[in-house]
């Protein structure tokens, strides 16, 4: 984006937007980080899942909202990014039946050591 050379181009709403308390946001993020480290230490599957991944989503949303200022950005930017994320979900849903499992309808993985594949007799 090196070509936009001057600040006069910044739109009318670029001047003096309200700034949240960034340090506070940062402290909360660090708190969540601690939670996400301590949670998996309990070794319970569901706790790990929630503390590691749900917390990650919350952290990401906070960074996006307050640091990237998506909370005050034009709405369609949010929609754009959301649609793109949704697309990744579509990718996952379409691919998972074939890649996420070792067996499915009318197919299964062959263990490379099972010797199921035979040498041809010439």
């Amino acid at each position: 984006m090196t070509d936009t050379g001057h600040s006069a181009m910044a739109g009318p709403e670029a001047v003096a937007r309200p700034h949240p308390n960034y340090v506070m946001v940062w402290v909360i993020l660090l708190g969540l980080l601690v939670v996400s480290i301590l949670g998996p230490m309990m070794g319970i599957f569901w706790v790990t899942l929630i503390t590691a991944f749900v917390v990650a989503v919350i952290k990401a949303l906070m960074v996006a909202a307050y640091f990237m200022h998506l909370n005050i950005e034009r709405t369609y930017v949010k929609y754009l990014l959301f649609t793109i994320l949704l697309l990744m979900l579509v990718l996952f849903a379409g691919v998972a039946p074939d890649v996420m499992k070792r067996a499915g309808k009318n197919w299964e993985h062959v263990s490379p050591t099972s010797g199921a594949v035979e040498r041809p007799r010439h």
């Binding site: 340090v23 946001v25 991944f53 990401a60």
Partner: protein
């Protein structure tokens, strides 16, 4: 220097061209990392035994790096605030602090890599380590690229030039941060 085409100065959407383009850059980055991470997650679910491999990643280093990136993001956004108030030198200082955060991150990453590789956990050991090095490596490249961009912007910002770029490079940096926020649990916490 380059003249500014009229095209770059118009703003029909109300978002300046630079920031609008940055959002599109992020959109295309999301699909790159999204595709990579989706692939990893699917194969990880196919191979529960990868949990044993993941046990050899260093949670401490990962957590420390998360802390470093979150803090550098804070500096980036403080730099943005300074730039919006027209305080170029202050913005530049914050940017340099962000660059410093990136440098610490890469340093820790380098130690991690060294320790892992010397213990035999190389790219070839298993597909898990392949993904580990590829995702963190690709992320690391983004960190380095962000550091370079930020340094260039900081040089200009110190002289009060092109202050709007402070925000753009900041948005990019926060994105790199967000990617790490997901990499951390995927590679380090899920064991």
């Amino acid at each position: 220097m380059a003249h500014i085409p009229l095209a770059a100065t118009r703003s029909v959407t109300g978002i300046p061209a630079g920031r609008l383009a940055m959002w599109w850059v992020l959109a295309s980055e999301i699909v790159i990392f999204g595709g990579l991470l989706a692939s990893y997650v699917m194969l990880r679910l196919q191979h529960p035994e990868w949990g044993d491999e993941a046990a050899h990643t260093s949670t401490v280093a990962g957590a420390f790096n998360t802390f470093v990136l979150l803090t550098s993001s804070l500096f980036a956004v403080l730099g943005h605030r300074a730039a919006e108030h027209g305080d170029g030198p202050r913005a530049a200082r914050f940017l340099w602090m962000t660059v410093g955060g990136g440098a610490v991150f890469m340093l820790v990453k380098a130690f991690e890599y060294t320790s892992e590789i010397t213990h035999g956990y190389t790219l070839f050991r298993s597909v898990f380590w392949g993904f580990y090095f590829t995702t963190t490596g690709l992320h690391g490249l983004h960190v380095v690229a962000g550091m370079v961009a930020m340094g260039l912007v900081a040089v200009g910002a110190r002289r009060g030039q092109r202050l709007h770029r402070v925000e753009l490079v900041g948005i990019y940096w926060h994105f790199v941060d967000v990617v790490w926020i997901f990499l951390f649990p995927l590679l380090y916490l899920a064991k």
